[in-house]
């Protein structure tokens, strides 16, 4: 299943500069609002209920999400064309938002339609049977989500069934500051760069007086965690959770984190990597003080907003070793639209909820939201490349040249279980805590769920 997903994605993935709601709030590119109304794809639904309804909808398209405006326009258009009303309680995605959504399901005050993470974060309400599976919806609406590839919808970790319809996805890659590489006299890493060559490059950059790698181990260690363990696995084995610290995956995790520790000891990270925030380290990268930054596709828009010289930046592959080719990347689709059981069983709301999601996930709207990022569309998104910055085009090339893809393994671990490794990263690289023990605690916590 995962393999299939990876392959399919590889074929269709394109760059994202649009926001994606993965772990953080997405970047800050604000697309101009457009007013052309999306044509809802016709469903073969039984005629929509004549009664006009009010749908309660919660999404993460709010605040500074690059798609917040697109979403509001789309909702307004849908309201206009159907006569239904949307009671929108969208909010920036963070811990409070998640707690709120889960508390809503718990108390029976869940929304009718929810745009939410389709990974382990959704386990609680999927297990409780509070959302409807796509299969069940298709029994009444055979054409539901028919414009999407089923293998890419983002199956629930609970039972492998599809519950949600995704919009746009993400990839993770290595952003490069060309200026710093030039000043240090090193080649910009490319598809053929090996891990060992990368280490030499870092040493040269450090000797030239720059920070080779911009990362805040204090606040965002997860990108490095992802690629470091990927280096000891491959696209097909990356997404399997370790059972213990001694099996293939467990060993990869230990070795991967040891590599991060090694980079820390060699001084390839900024001096304040253990106390600085992500914003501080990104700023180093922008200010020509650091060469490399691993981050997600949403950072394309972030960098565009921070710099006056976008041509100074590019994105490339994270140098690999072992079974992992340098061109094997991380990416996927991590959120989607759910319909709650409550709305499904309400005869007035059922048709409206299906119609709402169908219109929100039409080819046209998905293309608009995704810009050039991953989608599950059978026909792929339609994008006007002439409007893109050089960095976004580099991102496009980055995905096209990918030879394999795995989704982020951290998404398989519930957020609260990642704590010993992620929040404990500063203590792991300084040797204060034992790496294998920390991984074991993560696995124990996950198993206890």
């Amino acid at each position: 299943m995962k393999k299939l997903l990876a392959l399919l994605l590889t074929l269709t993935m394109v760059v994202s500069m649009a926001a994606c709601t993965k772990k953080e709030d997405p970047a800050t590119n604000t697309p101009g609002s457009s007013t052309d109304s999306p044509k809802a794809t016709a469903t073969t639904a039984p005629t929509a209920a004549p009664k006009k309804v009010t749908l309660n909808v919660t999404t993460t398209y709010a605040g500074n999400d690059g798609n917040a405006q697109n979403y509001q326009d789309a909702v307004a258009n849908w309201e206009k064309s159907t006569g239904n009303k949307v009671n929108d309680s969208s909010s920036t995605s963070d811990e409070t938002f998640k707690a709120r959504v889960l508390a809503d399901f718990e108390t029976g005050s869940e929304p009718d339609v929810l745009f939410f993470f389709n990974g382990v974060d959704s386990n609680a309400f999927v297990q409780a049977g509070k959302v409807v599976s796509i299969d069940e919806i298709r029994q009444s609406y055979p054409d539901y989500a028919s414009n999407m590839k089923d293998g890419m919808l983002g199956a629930s970790p609970v039972d492998g069934k599809n519950y949600s319809v995704p919009v746009n996805g993400y990839w993770e890659g290595m952003f490069v500051n060309k200026e710093v590489c030039k000043a240090a006299g090193v080649q910009i890493p490319d598809a053929n760069t090996t891990w060992d060559q990368f280490l030499e490059t870092c040493q040269k950059i450090k000797d030239a007086g720059f920070a080779p790698i911009a990362v805040s181990l204090a606040t965002v260690p997860h990108y490095w965690f992802e690629f470091s363990i990927y280096n000891f696995l491959s696209p097909s084995t990356h997404n399997v959770l370790p059972k213990n610290t001694t099996d293939t995956q467990g060993q990869a995790w230990v070795n991967g984190i040891n590599d991060i520790k090694m980079l820390y000891e060699k001084g390839y990270f900024p001096e304040n990597t253990l106390t600085g925030t992500d914003d501080e380290t990104v700023q180093l990268f922008i200010d020509n003080k650091a060469a490399f930054l691993i981050d997600g596709s949403w950072k394309v828009g972030g960098i565009e907003g921070l710099t006056t010289d976008i041509d100074n930046f590019t994105v490339t592959y994270v140098p690999g070793k072992g079974d992992r080719k340098t061109t094997d990347i991380i990416g996927g689709l991590s959120s989607g639209y759910f319909i709650s059981k409550k709305a499904w069983e309400d005869p007035d709301k059922r048709a409206a909820a299906v119609d709402f999601i169908t219109s929100m996930t039409s080819d046209e709207l998905v293309s608009k939201f995704a810009q050039v990022s991953a989608t599950a569309l059978k026909n792929g998104p339609t994008v006007d490349e002439s409007k893109l910055s050089s960095l976004a085009k580099d991102g496009l090339k980055y995905v096209k040249g990918a030879t394999g893809m795995a989704s982020a393994v951290e998404d398989q671990v519930p957020r609260e279980c990642r704590v010993p490794v992620f929040d404990g990263m500063p203590n792991l690289v300084t040797g204060k805590n034992d790496i294998a023990e920390a991984i074991q605690s993560v696995l124990d916590l996950t198993a206890a769920q």
Partner: protein, 291 residues
């Protein structure tokens, strides 16, 4: 009262310059941050990290942060919601706390110690530990998660009132304790009952403390993002603090936007505070005599 027999009357004015210097230094630390935030709200986000302590002149100057803030959200309705919630909280708190503190100070009764203990302990409950049960309770009453604006605002105000009552009772009790009981006795002699004593003697004398408490309750309610995020779900219900939170993303923090949002949040409340300050001073005419 102990007195000394020093005959030479020393003028207070000798120490005045030093006193002024000390006071002004502290005033500097309290004024500057606000000036700093306001100045930065007129800078492009790219310059804030590098030039956060310079004036927004020339290239750095921009109004784009405000344009963005106003384009994103309905600021006026957010102000209105903030005002409704926080005023409700402040008014309810001073009325209820005033009534309770008076009795807790002046009366001797069996449960007094226990009640006071409840008040003190109540101050220590971290809001994160009570919010979920409160949410469930309110949900069962049907006032949370509805699309009715005023119900939602009420659902947010209720826990905030409870959260501020303890503090208000403690402060008011401390103040009422220091009021001389003779005035109340005089009123009693003139035939006032307890309620009249409270409203005619205690309330006027306690005015400054009421003002203080109400301002604090108002402020805490205004700045209490956590509760507001939990109870106010839709855009029409948002307060100005919610809005500040919505405007600042977690990834690639836009400091310029943040500063402008902060400015929009604090300026009205500063104006309100300075305006109310007059009334506090008015209520502070020479108080009671004790000695």
């Amino acid at each position: 009262m102990k007195t000394t027999t020093v005959k030479n009357k020393r003028k207070i004015s000798i120490g005045q310059p030093i006193i002024y210097l000390l006071l002004s230094l502290w005033a500097l630390t309290t004024i500057y941050p606000i000036v700093w935030v306001v100045l930065n709200s007129f800078k492009d986000r790219r310059y804030i990290l590098k030039n956060s302590f310079s004036l927004p002149i020339g290239d750095i100057f921009t109004l784009s942060n405000y344009e963005l803030a106003f384009r994103r959200v309905n600021i006026l309705s957010a102000y209105k919601n903030s005002l409704i919630i926080s005023t409700t909280v402040a008014v309810t708190v001073i009325i209820f706390a005033g009534l309770a503190s008076y009795v807790l100070v002046r009366y001797e009764f069996r449960l007094k110690k226990l009640l006071y203990g409840l008040v003190i302990a109540g101050m220590m409950f971290p809001v994160y530990s009570t919010i979920i049960p409160v949410f469930r309770m309110e949900y069962s009453w049907g006032i949370v998660n509805t699309d009715k604006l005023y119900l939602s605002l009420l659902s947010c105000a209720l826990p905030q009132i409870a959260g501020n009552l303890s503090f208000a009772i403690v402060v008011l009790m401390g103040y009422i304790k220091s009021l001389p009981i003779e005035l109340e006795e005089a009123a009693y002699m003139e035939g006032c009952n307890i309620f009249q004593i409270f409203f005619r003697v205690i309330v006027p004398l306690t005015k400054p403390s009421f003002a203080t408490v109400s301002i604090f309750s108002f402020l805490w309610s205004y700045n209490d993002l956590f509760t507001q995020m939990f109870f106010l779900r839709t855009k029409t219900q948002w307060t100005i603090t919610n809005l500040l939170n919505q405007l600042t993303s977690q990834e690639g923090t836009n400091y310029g936007l943040m500063a402008s949002a902060v400015t929009l949040v604090i300026i009205p409340i500063l104006i309100l505070y300075i305006f109310l300050q007059k009334y506090i001073i008015k209520g502070m005419t020479a108080g009671a005599v004790k000695g």
